[in-house]
């Protein structure tokens, strides 16, 4: 089987969800499905990116996203280099652009970037020849997280259209929330954001979401309950008065969850603050929590994105189909 059923993927970079059409998102999810199957085999390695070089450039600490991209690259056969800010030239005053130019001179085929500033991935993409994948920039976007959330849901429920997705917690600082708002909006789901007013950005309703300050109303009949991490330093009076008050009104527990649909799925991009935004009992509910599945899907989604961006087409990997 060859490129007869390959679809073009006319994007060099994956900077955010806004550049993708609903069809392209569906096709990426299809490809991710194929890679999920591959990842469940004992022999996981393919040759689709053999000879290609992937650089992971992480300016923020991250365990799961970095590992996930590293595994994704290696399973596709690419050579993967990890660069973290610790001990790098950035600490010595080199700018993001200087670093990008230096690494670009080494001819990588793709660069994965995580950076604390919104727009850092956009900036990098203007300066390099290979593909840039945004693995999280400030509060702006985290497109592969939104894609892996979507593939997790689609595998469980079979579709995205018509679902009610409640995203709860620190919307203000969340790139995950922004990318999910865009993705689920494009796929025909109803998106709600649920948070105290201090954790909602200005004019959030203009992004096409329902805004709730009350968890009960926000979770009512939801199919998906997506919890966001709230950093502890933001809970000491700056945005909310205390952890216990936050958990009382916005932490996900059995009682609040009862207002969602009986089979509603519980999601969290990780890492979780148990007892802050989510109760341990709920987080570990084997029937409803898909938090660990999200991590598994992460590798497959990143394989699909790397494959599609480097080859600029979406093609089912043939030896997976054969397996």
């Amino acid at each position: 089987m060859t490129s007869a059923d390959a679809k073009p993927f006319p994007h060099r970079h994956l900077l955010g969800i806004e550049h993708l059409s609903a069809d392209e998102i569906s096709a990426l999810l299809d490809l991710s499905d194929a890679y999920v199957e591959l990842n469940r085999r004992p022999e996981k390695k393919l040759n689709r990116l053999r000879g290609r070089t992937l650089i992971n450039l992480f300016f923020e600490t991250s365990t799961r996203t970095k590992t996930s991209f590293e595994l994704a690259g290696k399973r596709l056969g690419a050579d993967v280099i990890n660069m973290s800010v610790e001990g790098s030239a950035i600490k010595k005053g080199e700018t993001l652009i200087d670093t990008a130019m230096t690494l670009n001179a080494m001819q990588p085929d793709a660069m994965v970037i995580r950076h604390p500033d919104s727009g850092a991935a956009d900036l990098l993409s203007q300066k390099v020849n290979g593909s840039v994948i945004n693995a999280g920039d400030g509060s702006h976007a985290h497109p592969t997280q939104a894609l892996l959330d979507a593939v997790t849901i689609r595998r469980r429920l079979g579709h995205l259209e018509g679902l009610t997705v409640a995203i709860c917690g620190d919307i203000l600082h969340s790139r995950v929330a922004r990318s999910n708002i865009q993705l689920f909006g494009k796929m025909g789901a109803l998106v709600r954001v649920v948070a105290p007013p201090t954790l909602l950005p200005a004019s959030i309703e203009r992004l096409g979401v329902e805004v709730h300050n009350d968890m009960v109303a926000g979770l009512k009949d939801a199919d998906i309950v997506m919890m966001l991490r709230l950093q502890t330093e933001r809970m000491k009076g700056a945005f909310v008065p205390s952890i216990r008050e936050y958990f009382r009104y916005y932490g996900l527990d059995r009682e609040k969850l009862a207002h969602a649909k009986p089979d509603a799925l519980i999601m969290h991009p990780g890492p979780m603050n148990r007892g802050v935004e989510i109760d341990t009992e709920v987080a570990d509910d084997i029937n409803r929590s898909v938090i660990r599945e999200q991590v598994e899907m992460g590798v497959a989604v990143r394989m699909a994105c790397l494959d599609a961006l480097v080859h600029q087409k979406l093609e089912q990997p043939t030896d997976v189909a054969a397996a």
Partner: protein, 430 residues
Amino acid sequence: MSDRIAYINARLLDPATGTDSPGDVLTIGDEIADVGALFGAGLPEGSIVIDCGGHCLAPGLIDMMATLGEPGREHKETIATGTRAAAVGGVTTVIASPDTRPIIDEIALVEFVERHAQATGQVRVLPAATITKGMGGLEMTEFGLLMEAGAVLFTDGYKSIVNAQVMRRALSYASNFNALISHHTEVPELVGDGVMNDGETATRLGLSGIPGIAETIMLERDIRIVELTGGRYHASSISTADSVAVVRRAKDKGLQVTCGVAPYHFALNENEVGHYRTFAKVSPPLRSERDREAIVEGLADGTVDVIASHHRPEDPEAKRLPFAQAAYGAVGLETLWPISLELYHKGQVSLLDLLARLTLGPATILGLPQGRLARGAPADLLIFDADTPSRIDAATFQSKSKNSPFDQRPVQGRVMRTVVSGATVYEQRS
């Protein structure tokens, strides 16, 4: 060589007298000697004649706020390059921001700026000094002595004086010398880590927002203080509809309150940030379309007294960064007049009113003799063509820095000649 120069065949525009008619100007040395229909009967003997070819002749522009880089930021701008940019832009008087390194808060430093401008400047440079020592917001500078040394206004640049008691004492003490306090009004706690206007665009881009109230709250505070202390107060750069309304109310009350705007606040809105364009990162930030429209209305009805370039040169190293890390500011001396002319071409502000915001307005606030076509006034002239279309090209700027949000913008109108003290400092060659 004669020191008599006759500018003939011009369309005279003088906001001071409301003149808009064909005529001529005669300058002798560094002064305007006569204005009107002077040479119908024949050209004056022994004069140099400059034929304006029917173009507009107005007083040279007075820019109340420009950063000239010297001392201490010579890699971004010098007085020589900054004033060359001013000459190209039709600006004949520049008030130099004291936000330099060192900060201009001492007599010797005011004198340095004056001396250096005398030696290297192409247009008039008048020094401003800071309101507080080191722009620390705590201790007043020596208003009286600094004025004697030549400081024409007091400002802490783009920093606000947070402590209301300091502001109260500064305004109160300044009234003693009739000194002008020009203030950038932003409550820093409300700015927080904000980098652009608070709203949908900031939310989409994941950038922290600066709410309009950050500006308006401090402006209202200042006006309350002025009510108490008297004194002359100028809000250096307002950007919101609410601020326009606040200034309008203060003027209705008869307070000595004036305000200025930067061209980007009437020509651009927050959408200009687009995908993290750091050249659109300015302070106060580009606001909503509604705010922009209110600024235009304020200019049309006279609530806004002054248009100032807020020229703030930055090198690529300070701008080629993620948006939150990039420096604030845009160069503006060379685009001040063409961008302002957009308001005339759109029919929103008359040509005379527009000129008033850039000549008579600042001259009146600063108590300067220039800014008018009057006998005995300094021979600072702007000759311009109001209509010829062109495109702004930052690559051709005389300024050392090219950080303009207007690069490649099509505009109408261009400066043909700039005259300072009777001498041509710029002439359009085409």
